[in-house]
């Protein structure tokens, strides 16, 4: 996994709560056996109409968000199925950071494992950024300092569990880390046998 230290990018607002993983990546794409190539299908039925044309009523289709890499989302983002295809698709589409009042548990874990930074931020702040994003908002996210800076120089700090931060900063592979605990795992197995 690539280390994540800092990211600066255009923010796009998706002001809906309880966005579920079926919306993020519809099931017909879960048949693939690869990890890549899911980006073009992200939010498929919101982005495209039944004839495959871009829908102009979906916020992320607006040209100003074309290069957005920071997603501002509603509460309980990523609820529903455990499919990791959801973070794969979001990442493949170009999102590096997702900011929301809260995330569903499994989605949170899945995203971190793929190097996407998820930031829990109070609803008021998220709403404020969503409004600003309509006029154009660039956020500079510094994981080391746990700070988000906007173009006017306003700084907002955020919380993240220390071990998640450490892993992201270093780009550590979870399995490799766990295998360092081999003695303990073996001891556990022996004790129970």
């Amino acid at each position: 996994m690539e280390p994540f230290k800092q990211h600066k990018g255009i923010a796009a607002p998706l002001n809906r709560s309880n966005v579920d993983t079926d919306q993020i990546i519809p099931k017909q794409f879960l048949k693939r056996i690869e990890r890549t190539g899911f980006g073009e299908f992200v939010f498929l039925h919101w982005r495209f109409d039944d004839n495959g044309n871009l829908r102009d009523d979906f916020v992320l289709n607006q040209p100003k968000y074309e290069n957005a890499t920071v997603l501002l989302a509603g509460d309980n983002f990523g609820c529903g199925s455990s499919r990791e295809h959801a973070p794969w698709a979001l990442e493949d589409f170009g999102f590096k950071v997702i900011i929301a009042p809260d995330f569903a548990d499994i989605f949170y874990n899945n995203s971190l494992k793929n190097g996407i930074l998820l930031i829990k931020m109070n609803e008021e702040q998220v709403q404020q950024w969503m409004k600003k994003a309509e006029q154009g908002l660039t956020l500079d996210i510094n994981l080391e300092k746990q700070e988000i800076t906007d173009a006017d120089g306003n700084v907002v700090s955020f919380d993240i569990p220390a071990y998640h931060k450490e892993k992201l900063l270093n780009g550590w592979d979870d399995i490799a880390l766990t295998l360092l605990e081999e003695d303990k795992i073996r001891a556990f197995e022996e004790k129970r046998a």
Partner: protein
């Protein structure tokens, strides 16, 4: 005596391999269940890194999500076929036991685990599927994981977990006639919302829960994830022990008795404390129907769809009603359906099918309604056929299919067309879940069966044939 503990704490404590203040704990996993959709990339990861499956003996695989429920021999969808072939090859290469499409143990992963007795009290169980919470009905700590975590468990037989908080969902009283476990869990989610369980393991307690059969308990725990919970749990009791006695993967004779005693000792101690408790009265619950696009958007069958401006989040209600093609204040019983799906890991077990069959026996599915029954496993199908349920359904005009996830998520050909409206016994009514543009109403098997006959929702309690 030590501190009074909850069933969750007892299981947790027994599985900690490593724990440090302020960090997730490393938990040992007793049972890893695998299916074709969330595993291929995990096995690929193992190959790329030259890793093995640490404990193939604690791993069990099946095919359920995209197996066809008719014409299995001739899978037209090349990508589906490839995915199933990948699972077959992965299991063969890594020494994992597989119940493939033709195997007598095949079925929805959350139906076959309990059926085989792989699911047992006190175990930690994971699967790359969010409804793994189903297995919590046995007093097992069971939760869904993503593909990276599947790979992690395959390689290490452990998982890093933040210790969840505990939530006691206390259900007092008793469910009325025609009111099922499905109605209870839908009512709980409607009342407390789709995220009240986030960060918690929910334990269902109270008189009403104790009276439930194992299959009913599975329906309840299955939908814990729809309330956002990490897992759902019910303390083991005699009902649990009797369900498991004699199952293929549980020990026999004296070994079983010893094990049963250990299981019973896992039940939450008198006086144990939870981080949070909510109470609900079973007697007050009516049959439920969801009207919207998440499982919390549900009401009793006697009610109507909500009034937009009175809702807490009017825009959400408006968007959901619009997707569902419904008006505000519309009586639930006036909603006409054109599809009925009886199946899924929530409601596809033998008792579900039996109860639904009582409703349809001797009647006919309303013209214009396409109704299908998809048993949860090969064995459920066989047992149902032995007692003639297939005939009852077929005579009434239902299609009787082979086991799998089917129309619950529509990964195979079983989909609801755009604009179609389905009374479904599954667990998710998300936009597009059963097919692009499909509209899903979650209900119990009885309610689905009655809707199939009448062509619209009816209060099953006033309906002939309600099983007592």
């Amino acid at each position: 005596m030590g501190k009074a503990l909850t069933v969750f704490e007892k299981i947790w404590n027994k599985h900690v391999v490593k724990e440090e203040e302020g960090k997730p704990a490393l938990l040992y996993i007793d049972q890893h269940l695998i299916h074709e959709v969330t595993s291929p990339q995990a096995f690929e990861g193992l190959r790329l890194n030259g890793r093995k499956v640490r404990r193939p003996d604690l791993t069990f695989a099946t095919m359920d999500h995209n197996v066809p429920t008719i014409n299995r021999e001739n899978i037209k969808d090349e990508i589906s076929k490839k995915q199933m072939e990948a699972l077959k090859k992965n299991c063969a290469d890594f020494g994992v036991k597989l119940a493939d499409m033709y195997h007598p143990d095949q079925g929805i992963v959350h139906v076959i685990g309990p059926q085989l007795g792989l699911t047992q009290p006190g175990k930690t169980i994971v699967c790359g599927d969010s409804h793994t919470s189903t297995h919590g009905a046995f007093g097992a700590l069971a939760f869904g994981i993503g593909t990276s975590e599947v790979e992690h468990v395959l390689a290490t037989q452990t998982i890093w977990q933040d210790k969840p908080k505990t939530l006691n969902v206390k259900v007092d009283g008793e469910l009325g006639l025609g009111v099922t476990a499905k109605d209870l869990i839908l009512a709980i989610i409607a009342k407390f919302g789709v995220r009240f369980g986030t960060g918690y393991v929910m334990e269902y307690t109270g008189d009403a829960i104790r009276k439930l059969t194992m299959e009913e308990r599975m329906t309840i725990c299955n939908m814990s994830i729809e309330a956002g919970a990490r897992a759902g749990l019910i303390s083991p009791d005699e009902t649990t022990v009797e369900f498991l006695r004699g199952r293929e993967m549980v020990p026999k004779g004296e070994a079983f008795d010893a094990l049963a005693e250990e299981w019973l000792a896992l039940a939450t101690d008198e006086g144990a404390e939870y981080d949070h408790t909510v109470t609900i009265y079973a007697d007050e619950i009516e049959p439920q129907v969801t009207w919207g696009t998440n499982p919390g958007m549900g009401v009793p069958v006697s009610a109507s769809t909500p009034t937009i401006k009175e809702a807490e989040h009017p825009e959400e209600v408006e968007r959901a009603l619009s997707y569902m093609g419904l008006k505000e204040n519309q009586p639930i019983t006036s909603i006409e359906i054109d599809h009925v799906f009886i199946g899924s890991c929530t409601n596809s077990r033998l008792s579900d099918l039996k109860r639904a069959s009582k409703i349809v026996e001797g009647k006919k599915v309303k013209e214009g309604v396409k109704a299908i029954v998809v048993p949860g496993s090969f064995l459920v199908k066989q047992q149902a056929e032995e007692i003639g349920l297939d005939k009852i359904f077929i005579d009434a005009g239902f299609e009787w299919r082979n086991s799998g996830c089917s129309m619950c998520l529509g990964m195979n050909d079983d989909i609801v067309p755009s604009g179609g409206r389905c009374a479904s016994t599954s667990n998710r009514n998300f936009e597009g879940r059963q097919g692009n543009g499909a509209r899903t109403h979650l209900v119990s098997p009885e309610m689905a069966a009655a809707a199939a006959i009448e062509g619209h929702f009816v209060d099953v309690r006033q309906y002939a044939g309600v099983p007592s």
